[in-house]
Symmetry: C2
């Protein structure tokens, strides 16, 4: 029998389609991959040594032995740009803002064919610290309302390059969906005097059946109302509203945690395409008691169709508890 389960923060219902549910191993991804067996590719715009062939405007870098190990560049085809004024227009019923914003690409390694799941915890720590540094820097801009850090891994996740990279998009507005999540969290706090995410962590750890991994500072779980197979969250156990305020010892734990969760997906589902996104409270909301930052991981194993587009709801053809058990049992 199918179920409708409600996302605890977003309040949207998800159909867990048990009648048509597949088992976790049915999602092993055998489609062609965006992969390479080369550690260097002469045609890759991000490989060291190709800078003249593929010029980029560099923003920031981390070096080791005078070679870059991490680099941030402006996106060559930016969705938004700082090279425009920030203006808001209304013409009749139409509203438009000039495309003001920041769009950076973070090149996560000089090695062409690695990925977060295969990097060392120390390397991942450097990536996470670099995320933090870039987000802090960008958040100082007074026209920026929201910063989103995300990673597209594989073709179905929207990537077109093998070379490991993430993106940062800084927006002059707070997206409607983001605002609603924060407001729902605020409502829960007003009603119950505590953070809904903290409550979720407590219940999920007590219950255990959707937990993937628990470490000193973080816990990961397949969502009760997962909108697609293996849709998971990694949350800090201690309340914190924004990723940028993370402490160094938490970064260290997170790097191991993130590696393990991604490696479980990599091994268990044959390197599936995925997106991960860091979700923080918007800048102007500051540190607060009601919103709790987290990483959401969305393996791209199903397609959205007319129902999803029309209703905003999702049909998940898998069972979250089975997906979590499957991931828990994969040794890494």
């Amino acid at each position: 029998m199918s179920e409708l389960r409600q996302n605890i923060v977003y309040k949207e219902w998800v159909i867990i389609a048990k009648e048509r549910a597949k088992r976790p191993h049915d999602f092993i991804d055998n489609s062609p991959k965006l992969e390479s067996d080369k550690t260097y590719d002469e045609n890759c715009p991000f490989c060291p040594g190709n800078e003249e062939k593929f010029p980029h405007i560099e923003v920031d870098r981390i070096e080791k032995n005078s070679k870059w190990i991490l680099k941030s560049v402006f996106n060559k085809y930016p969705a938004l740009s700082k090279d425009t004024s920030f203006e808001w227009f209304e013409k009749d019923i139409f509203r438009v803002i000039t495309g003001y914003g920041i769009h950076e690409v973070i090149i996560e390694s000089p090695i062409h064919n690695t990925t977060i799941a295969l990097m060392s915890p120390k390397e991942i720590s450097s990536v996470l610290l670099f995320y933090k540094k870039r987000e802090r820097e960008i958040s100082k801009n007074k026209n920026i309302e929201y910063v989103i850090i995300f990673r597209n891994h594989g073709y179905k996740a929207g990537a077109s390059l093998v070379h490991p990279h993430s993106q940062i998009l800084a927006l002059p507005i707070i997206p409607r969906d983001v605002k609603q999540r924060v407001e729902e969290a605020f409502k829960y706090y007003s009603d119950h005097g505590r953070c809904v995410f903290c409550k979720l962590i407590e219940e999920e750890i007590k219950n255990q059946e959707r937990i993937i991994l628990e470490t000193d500072h973080f816990v990961s779980m397949v969502l009760y109302a997962a909108s697609s197979p293996f849709h998971s969250w990694i949350l800090p156990k201690k309340h914190l509203s924004r990723f940028v305020d993370i402490k160094d010892e938490e970064i260290e734990d997170l790097s191991k945690h993130l590696k393990n969760v991604l490696l479980k997906l990599y091994k268990g589902l044959n390197n599936p395409d995925y997106n991960y996104i860091l979700r923080s409270s918007p800048i102007s909301y500051g540190n607060n008691k009601y919103f709790h930052w987290y990483i959401t991981i969305v393996p791209r194993l199903t397609r959205s169709a007319g129902f999803e587009l029309g209703s905003g709801m999702f049909i998940n053809p898998s069972i979250p508890e089975e997906d979590a058990k499957f991931l828990r049992e994969i040794e890494v």
Copy 2:
């Protein structure tokens, strides 16, 4: 220079990424298609004559010369089903509703390899009248709050069968997104004393640059804040909240209109995958002055990535006015 444009009803911002925008003809879809050169396929569960091999529970049919020309069957792998009680449970912070609902498949023709764009206006009229009949019937069920009719055309749109069909999903709840659209329309009505969609139609017809087609009773346009290339709406010019209340002469006009818009896409973009969805006011809102029903057409020409999943916003790599001009100029 990119722009952020606001969807007039949903109030979400869309990035029209002019820096990276492609021209309309760049979206001609040369990927492998879910197509067939057979008018009958012995392995198709929907072809006439295959009923014993692929048994379905039939709900309704239209016959001509004692052969079916349109048929509705229960989905074999239903997301929701009437064969369960309607119950709501809360356990701690988790909310769940039993998977009560109705999931029908409408087989739009006995011919295996046709599609709406290639059918005659008379055949399409029959399909639309059948949609209306099924929606009316289903809406009588007191546990049903919202009925959604949609069509998945092609693999990227979520279809797995060539044989032309649509689906009806009837839900025991009003999806959050649907409720918000209706509420935003209500707000506009409260502020301005008129329907926001009627106002949009007036402005777009005056402006002309995003119009695809105008007929006696309907107008179609590429949206000002189209969330993806060629994202379009077909709206009735006369205010009406729900598709089920459409009149016969409007059906006749709509069948020609829908055919023409889909044929323009078919010819202009080489039979692209698409979804269309009929959006009506929820049942319990009845006929009202603020919500206006319409068909939304979403060609599936781009992929969503981490940014879209994380923000709920979309980046459209095309320019709505150019897309509309391209479609207007395709002769059908």
